[in-house]
Each structure stands twice: as structure tokens, then as C-alpha cells.
Amino acid sequence: MAVLEAEGVSKRFGGLQAVAEASLRVEPGRITALIGPNGAGKTTLFAMISGFLRPDSGSIRFDGREITGLAAHRVCRLGLVRTFQIVQPFAGLTVRENIAVGGHLKEPDRGRALAAAAAIARQLGMEAMLDAPAQSLTVAGRKRLELARALATQPRLLLLDEVMAGLIPTEVSEIVAVIRAIRDAGVDILLIEHVMQAVMSLSDDVYVLNNGRIIAHGAPGEIAANGDVIEAYLGQGAAHARG
Amino acid sequence: MLADPVFLLAVAFNGLTVGAIYALVALGLALIYGVLHIINFAHGSLLMLALYAAFFLFTLGGVDPYVAVLALAPGFFVFGYLLQRFVIAPISFGRDTNVLLVTLGLSIIFDNLALYLWTSTTRTINVPYAQTYVDIGVTAVALPRLVALGAALLVGVAFWLLMTRTDLGKAIRAVARERQGARIVGISVEHIFAVSFGLGTAVVALAACLLLPTFYVTPTVGYAFVLIAFTTVVLGGMGSFIGALLGGLLLGVVEAFSGVLLGESLGQIGIFLIFILVLLFRPTGFFGQRVA
């Protein structure tokens, strides 16, 4: 059974059809990627899955349970946690405190949550910044913090929204390793990503969203060869230029 | 009494004339809130200062308040402009809580400066037309009240023209919603902030000149209007100029009727209940736009 199933999900903002009849499935034990050009509706789809937006139509099931329209914090408590593309740190708090907020979902004790936060930071290579205020972090640091905080909630399914954007290649490969490790630890992952290198090497399944519609679905290799996808990505004419 | 249509009409009309003053005071506040997104606690104190200015122009210089408008409105514009640009903005660092404290501090300063300079004596002026009553059929209205109502409507039209027909007005509206975009087309946001504060202050000066013939001035007179101005601004939709004007007129009428129904004392509750209900159920007010 799929961990996550979205079926025919649509969302309209005023005159703009942000997501149209999008369907996707996340299978257990796999890393699923959602790609597409800017403005394609990926983040909107994420927001609907995680309960931040209510879809106009369609249904979302998590672990076989209907979660369409459920409030975000309830979705999170079921084990489905998202990160934000535009990072949303608790700017005034330290890295340790930031992560501990996530940890508190399962751990009421402050001391233990803080200790767990340190452990997660170590796992993500952030131990040096534990007591730095979140607002002093670099883009890469903030992305990592976003991931660490989500991870601290001990989720079943992690929705990662562009955690690699803006990272330098070495940082990207570090994060790729981290994400793999998370998957191996039994957390399923759905990610939005622009850094194609990472998508190709990480994911087992790729969905391509363009203008709010899923235009392709398949293994990374198939997707890379798909003319529609290349065109959607590099712009019109790219498929020919390549050939 | 309540079944008497003449009485009710008189109450309604009176509400309108009172609402005209509320509208003007609120218009200034709405402008400042709408553009700068700050709650100006010194607004009542500015009204008080303007009332004193008009009072002294009359008693010392023999200038009629209606004539004094010509000097006070520009004068207070400059005052407001400088206040925002050189006091409020630099001290508050753009933080909301600090803006709150700065305007609070300013109101403490103004109120006590007035107390120190002019003592706590209640001052009124005696202009011949204050005792002139115009019979409008249902009731006799003091001439200054009619003038205030007319002026409020006129200012409404003038503001509407300013906001829609001039580059300055368009720039103010642009800054109110999209500061980054405004900077990109070369609008100095700091300047527009100060201009808005100045305009808001100028309107308050106008309100003061209209109010003085039928009212009084003391160092604490502003408090009588601050809360009502906030209510008006919320009712009209935070930052909506037309909303503030109509909201003020409406509140005047509501106050008049709830005063008649519940008594002036308990009747104030009508205003605040409206205030709360609007905040809860239609926080954009009746004329504000929904913010995405």
C-alpha cells in the first residue's frame, strides 16, 4: 500500500489554476521526487498534502487514512512533516532550540528534547552551530536546520521542499547522503528539487509537474530522456538543441 | 419619543454632524495606518496641539479658526513630516513595538508640554457664528456643525482626487501595498511615509479648526477622540480612506442612536461592540480590501 496517495487534487487562486487534477503516490521505502519548472505548482501541491491549504477538489490519503482538509498540525502528528522552500526558521532561537521544537512532538521533557536536538544536529553535521541563533546561519545552514527540525519530529513521511537549492556541490552531496540515511532509517521521502543531479541520483520515482499538471512519471532515467520534460525545464527548443 | 420620526431624523442628522469630526480625525489615522502600518498613539495629542494652535491664533492673533486652517494645515503637515522622518522612523528602527512606544512617548511629551506651557485650564473661544443655528426642518443645527459636515465631505472628495489623480496619491497607494515595487520605480518610501504622516497630521489640524468653535481644549482633550478614531479606522477597513470617512459618519449615527437607546453612558458600548464584531467577522472593515 502506498504511504501517500493524492488523487485528482486541484487548487485555484483567483484566476490562476495552480494545481490541476494532480495525482501521485509515494511507495514505502522509496524516495519520490516531484520536479518541474518554477511556478509549476509544486509547492502548492505540498501545501495541500501537508494541510496548509485545503484543496478545491480531490483527495489525499496518508497511511490509508483520509487527511484531506485536516489541519497542518494534525497532519504532522500523524507523521507527515514538511519543510519550507522559503526557509522558516524560528529566527530568534538558537539552532538547538529550533530543532528541539520539532523534538517536542514526541518528547515532552525539555532536557531530553534538547539532547535529542544535539544528536540530530550531529547527524546533519551542524553541531558546531548548535548555540548560534538561527538568523545568523547561511542559506545552506538554514536549509539544513529546516531538515533537522522536521526530522526531530520522528516522521513517517518527510516532504522536503528544495532543501538543496542554493547549496554548493559539496554541500549537495553531503545532504544527499543524509537523505539516503534518513530513508534507510525507515522514513519515506517525497521531495521537490531543482538540483537535477541530486534528483537523478537520489530518487526512485520521479513525478514532473508543469503548469499544475503531472506531465510525466517514471524512473529517473526515463524522465531524463523525456522530451516533454526537457522542454519544460530548459525551455522550448531545448530538446532539439540537444539532438 | 422613539416612535417620533422627527426626533429620530434629528438624532440621525446630529449623528452625522458629529461623525464628520470623527471621520476627519480617523482619516488622518487611517492614512498613517494604511501606509506606514503603524498604530499612532500620538494622534489624539496631535489633535490637542492643533486645537491649541487654533485657539492661540484666535485669541492672540484674532484669526478665525476657519481662516486659520490655511496656515495650520500646511504647518501641521510640515510638523508631521518632520516628526515621522526625524523622530519616529529613526527611533523605532521600523519595529512595530518600538513604534508603539515612540508614539506613546510622544503623546506623553506633547500632553505634558501642553500642561506645562498652557496649564490645565479649559479654554474655549467665542465666535459669533457658534451660536448661529440653522433650522433644517427636523432640528436646529449649530452652523459650525454644518460647516464641519460640509468640510468632511469636501475633504473626502479632495482626498479621493489626490489619491487617484495625482502621482503623489498613486505613489502613496503604491507604497501602502507594495513597498519593494515602489522603490523599484524610484519612489522614496521614506519620503512617502513622512508625507503620509504629514497629511494625516494636516487633516487632524483641519479637524481641530472645525471642532474648536463648538468644543473646548485642554491638555487631555485628545483622549476623547483617540479610541473613537481607532474604531472608525477599523470599521472603515484599516487603511481605507473612503472607509474612514464613511465609517466616521456611520459611527456618529450609531453613537447617537445607542446613546438615545441605552443612555449616553452605557451607549458607548454600542461603538465598541461594533468594533469587536467588525474585527472578528470582517477584519478588513467594510471598505478595506482583502489582503491575500
Binding site: - | 426626533f7 505634558n112 453612558s265 452605557l266
Partner: protein, 411 residues
């Protein structure tokens, strides 16, 4: 901050020591030494110098100051070797908690007695604090009957309390109405919604029917109120014979203007401690609206020579003639007299001297003072009426300077 206080106490006690020495010197007939050592008796004034009641506080201070200046010019407190009265102002900021802090502060600064209060809420808390410190407290204008009704030692009120004023007001109203052939039958009460106005209205609403008046309505309004037009309209619609307002000065002014503006056809306006009709400023500025308004209020006995001097002195000082000035002036004279008789700055002795006071040389229409449970028994208000540019006393008869003009002559 903490260390300064003991020093202050030390200073006070040194001064007491000098005072004692000076008294001894006086007894030994050494007047030269006395003049070389000018002494003062401190009186603490708890007045609202800032905040909502700042005007009233300033007026109250002016009254106390005038009295103190007169006493000092005439040689101060003789029994203390000509000690001068020094007024120490404690600003109550129109707030009880500030008033209490000032009472504490001035107690420690060695004041012999307090004078002040102004509003009932402030007076109640301030007098309580003074009682705790063992300093006598003379209330000036608070009318709440609880001021002296609580049995606090050393808390006095020279002026009349609530029950006295209202009863007197009703007597005056009935008498004036009877004299005119009972033209008035209906009344509307207009009052501010604080302690003073609400209390007044409640009492009047209960008492007026017993005296043959029908109360059509009782209209409360807040302080400040921005607009009185609606009340004017209501009055015009209800057509009462008499309107009885109880409000502070600003609201009173607006109300009188509104009644005038809407040509409410009343036979009389009779206020009870209405701030306006007993104020010459109001009469100067709104003479038309003020005409024939009657007011039962704290007021001087205008026939006393001292009152005439008092009024003249106020004119010289450009101080408005209001009841705060009168009562504070009179209270200060009373306190000075008590200290004179006590012959000491000892607070308990002053308190006892006030309690046993039979002081008569004041400006109020009270007769000799007689305190029972802190309340001056002879205290009573006067009823005044605005006639042309003057405020005439029309009741009680023995103080009257003019006859009441009632009902208002219709033009």
C-alpha cells in the same frame, strides 16, 4: 534610593529639636533668636496637578496658596513663634495609587497635616493612607459620605457631604418652586457617570417623587463626552419643567450650550454641584447659555467681609472663583487655626485641635465648625443663580443676595 530616607528623618527630627529649642527661647523671652531661626509648618496638599482633573487641582492649589500667603503675611502661626506655613504639593496625578505614594512621601517629609483629595476615589484612598501614618487629613471637595463614615481617626471634612448637599438642594428647589406657585412638576436628571454624578442622580431619583416631582428620565453620560446634542434633543422631546445636571465643568459647559441651542423649553435648570454655573469663566464666555441656571454647590457666604476680601484677592491673582478655591482657602484657614491652638506641630495634637475646633473666621456659610466623627456638622451648600453677569446666592435665605428668578422668563 534606600539610604536616603533615614537621613531625611534625621533632618526632620533635627528640625523638631530646633523647634523645641526655639519654643524654649521664646519662653525665655529671646525674640531675636526667633527671627534668626525662621521656622515653617509644612502642610501637604494632595491635589491632582496632572491628569484628568488637572484644572481642579490647580484651582484647589490656588485657594490653599492664597490662604497660606495671607497667614504668612500676618506673621505666621503665632503660638509657634511666627512659624510660616509651607505648602508642599503632592501631585495625585488624578490616580489613587499616586495619591497614596504622595501621602507617604509627604508624611516622611514631616507635614503636619494634609489637605486635598478632590475626587472621592482619590480622597478615600489618600485619607486612608494618611490615617495609617497618623497625619490628620482634611478633605476639600470629595463628597462621598464614606470619607468620614469609615471611622478613620484624623480624617476630617470641612465641607458638606453628599447627603447634606442633596437634602439642601431639594429643600431649595421645593422652596423656590413653591414661592413661584409650583409651576414645575417634572424633572430630568443629567449626570456624569462617575461616583459623584451617579450618586447624585440615584439619590435625587429616589427623593424627588417624595417632594412632589416626577422624574421623567435620568441620563448618564461619560466624562469626557464629546457631544451633547443628543441629550439636548432628548430633553426637547421630553419637555421636562426642570433639568437637573450634575457634571464636571467641560461637560457642563457643553450641556448648557446644547440646552440653549435646542431651545429646550424648560422652566428652570437646577444643578447639584454642577461644575459650570458656579464658574465665572463659564458665565463670561457663554453668558446666554448660562442665564438663570441655578446651582446648589459649595459656595461662600458673600456677605462676610472676609469673603469680599477673598473675592478681590482672587481677582488680583487672576484666579477663577470656583468651589475648589473657596473650600481650600477655608480649609487652610481652619488648619492654621487648629495649629495655632495646638501650639505644636505634633500631628496628634493638631488632629485633636481640629476635632475640637469651633473656628468661625472663614468664608463659607457654615457658622462655627463642629466636627462629629470627622464631619463638620454645620457645613451646608448654598444655592446660586446666574443673573446677568453675576452669580447671586438665592438660598438659604439668610445668605441670599438676590431673589430667585423662576420660572425662566420667556422672551
Amino acid at each position: 534610593m534606600a539610604v536616603r530616607a533615614p537621613r531625611r528623618i534625621a533632618r526632620t527630627s533635627r528640625r523638631n529639636f530646633i523647634a523645641a529649642g526655639a519654643a524654649a527661647a521664646a519662653a525665655l523671652g529671646m525674640p531675636a533668636l526667633l527671627r534668626a531661626q525662621p521656622k515653617t509648618v509644612k502642610i501637604g496638599l494632595i491635589h491632582p496637578m496632572t491628569g484628568m482633573f488637572a484644572y481642579n487641582g490647580a484651582q484647589a492649589f490656588a485657594g490653599a496658596k492664597l490662604a497660606a500667603d495671607e497667614i504668612n503675611e500676618r506673621g505666621g502661626i503665632r503660638s509657634l513663634g511666627g512659624a510660616k506655613i509651607e505648602l508642599v504639593v503632592g501631585d495625585s496625578q488624578s490616580k489613587p495609587e499616586a495619591a497614596v505614594a504622595e501621602v507617604d512621601k509627604l508624611s516622611e517629609a514631616g507635614v503636619a497635616c494634609f489637605l486635598g483629595g478632590y475626587a472621592s476615589g482619590i480622597g478615600l484612598t489618600a485619607s486612608q493612607a494618611a490615617a495609617r501614618q497618623g497625619v490628620p487629613f482634611m478633605s476639600d471637595t470629595p463628597v462621598s459620605d464614606q470619607i468620614t463614615g469609615r471611622g478613620l481617626p484624623g480624617v476630617f471634612r470641612f465641607g458638606p457631604g453628599f447627603a447634606t448637599i442633596t437634602t439642601a438642594a431639594l429643600d431649595a428647589l421645593v422652596a423656590i418652586n413653591d414661592a413661584a406657585g409650583k409651576p414645575a412638576k417634572t424633572v430630568i436628571l443629567v449626570h456624569e457617570d462617575g461616583a459623584f454624578g451617579s450618586g447624585m442622580a440615584k439619590f435625587l431619583a429616589a427623593e424627588l417623587p417624595k417632594r412632589g416631582f416626577q422624574v421623567l428620565d435620568s441620563i448618564a453620560h461619560p466624562t469626557p463626552t464629546r457631544d451633547f446634542t443628543n441629550i439636548g434633543l432628548r430633553l426637547r422631546a421630553a419637555r421636562p419643567d426642570i433639568v437637573m445636571p450634575s457634571s464636571y465643568l467641560n461637560e457642563y459647559t457643553l450641556l448648557a450650550r446644547s440646552i440653549h441651542q435646542h431651545r429646550v423649553p424648560v422652566k428652570g435648570i437646577f444643578s447639584v454641584i454642577g461644575g459650570g454655573a458656579s464658574n465665572f469663566k463659564f458665565i463670561r464666555e457663554y453668558n446666554a447659555a448660562a442665564q438663570y441656571i441655578m446651582d446648589c454647590n459649595h459656595w461662600i457666604d458673600p456677605n462676610k467681609p472676609r469673603s469680599k476680601r477673598f473675592v478681590k484677592a482672587l481677582e488680583e491673582r487672576k484666579v477663577d472663583l470656583t468651589y475648589e478655591v473657596m473650600l481650600n482657602y477655608a480649609c487652610m484657614l481652619l488648619i492654621a487655626d487648629a495649629i495655632e491652638r495646638a501650639g505644636s506641630t505634633d500631628r496628634a495634637k493638631i488632629s485633636a485641635a481640629i476635632a475640637s475646633s469651633t473656628f468661625e473666621d472663614h468664608i463659607m456659610p457654615y457658622g462655627p465648625t463642629k466636627f462629629v466623627g470627622g464631619q463638620n456638622q454645620g457645613a451646608q451648600p448654598a444655592t446660586t443663580q446666574v443673573q446677568k453677569m453675576d452669580i447671586e446666592v438665592i438660598w438659604p435665605q439668610q445668605f441670599a443676595t438676590a431673589k430667585a428668578i423662576f420660572p425662566i422668563p420667556q422672551a
